[in-house]
Symmetry: C2
DNA sequence: GCATTTCTACTACTATTGTAGTATTTATAG
DNA sequence: CTATAAATACTACAATAGTAGTAGAAATGC
């Protein structure tokens, strides 16, 4: 059972599903930002593809509409994305962090929070 | 002047170029890991496409071979990749870091190194 | 100087992603 | 019950990404 690659836009749809919980195609479509909201059938196609990739499943029917939910947890997919990026960086998390710092997105307090999380974790082991 | 999207494999080729410095198609191809080394002309096509995207340029000729080099610095492209990922995470660097921590890739000393880098930077401003 | 090797330039094909139309089925309002 | 509204299932097509073959030009070995 392959964990197939999930494209950018597919990922956007998954985000909606995580946010909304089990939803119809219509609900997902309407949850997309108006400045980039493709046609209903476009969203439908994408959700069908996610289904084929095993990333989404039908859970029930409400009226004549299928209700879909994400199969994987958000954090699972997030971890995979980060792992992919990490691989592209030659496995060096320090360089990923450096980039975050240089784009000014990572503040000292972010880092201190992580540090606390980590010390806690290391104590447990 | 559009900064066009760079695909996974194109990124691999750029990595080789950054590593090797200005190189011929052959050199790039041979620098790829044997377990996934496509045909010479495949690499050639990709490099041509990178050229069209403005990510690579011809610098000279050696024998009958063109020598290519990356136009952008590695760190520039890395930053863009990280920025993209960050956007997918809703702009929250903390959640990116959490993922790194949870996959066990980020150690306490990595974090402390970053923290030092950041304090230094903040003092300068 | 010519044969051989190597590279280029071009073309081609498949898979994936993004986009949406159309025909049919299903539910729902009266 | 039937007209209508909505969703489905299916098909299609363009753009990008990945892969590679082929014809011909250019350098190289002798």
């Amino acid at each position: 059972m392959r964990a197939k690659r999930i494209s950018r836009f597919e990922f956007q749809l998954l985000e909606r599903l995580w946010e909304l919980g089990p939803s119809s195609v219509r609900e997902v479509q309407e949850a997309l930002p108006p400045e980039h909201r493709p046609a209903y059938t476009t969203v439908q196609t994408m959700i069908y593809r996610l289904e084929q990739k095993g990333a989404v499943r039908r859970v029930k029917k409400t009226g004549n509409a299928h209700i879909f939910e994400a199969v994987l947890a958000r954090t699972t997919v997030h971890k995979r994305l980060v792992a992919d990026l990490l691989e592209m960086f030659g496995g060096s998390p320090a360089s990923v962090m450096s980039c975050l710092v240089e784009t000014g997105k990572l503040t000292l307090s972010d880092v201190r929070a992580i540090e606390r999380e980590l010390s806690k974790r290391e104590k447990k082991l």
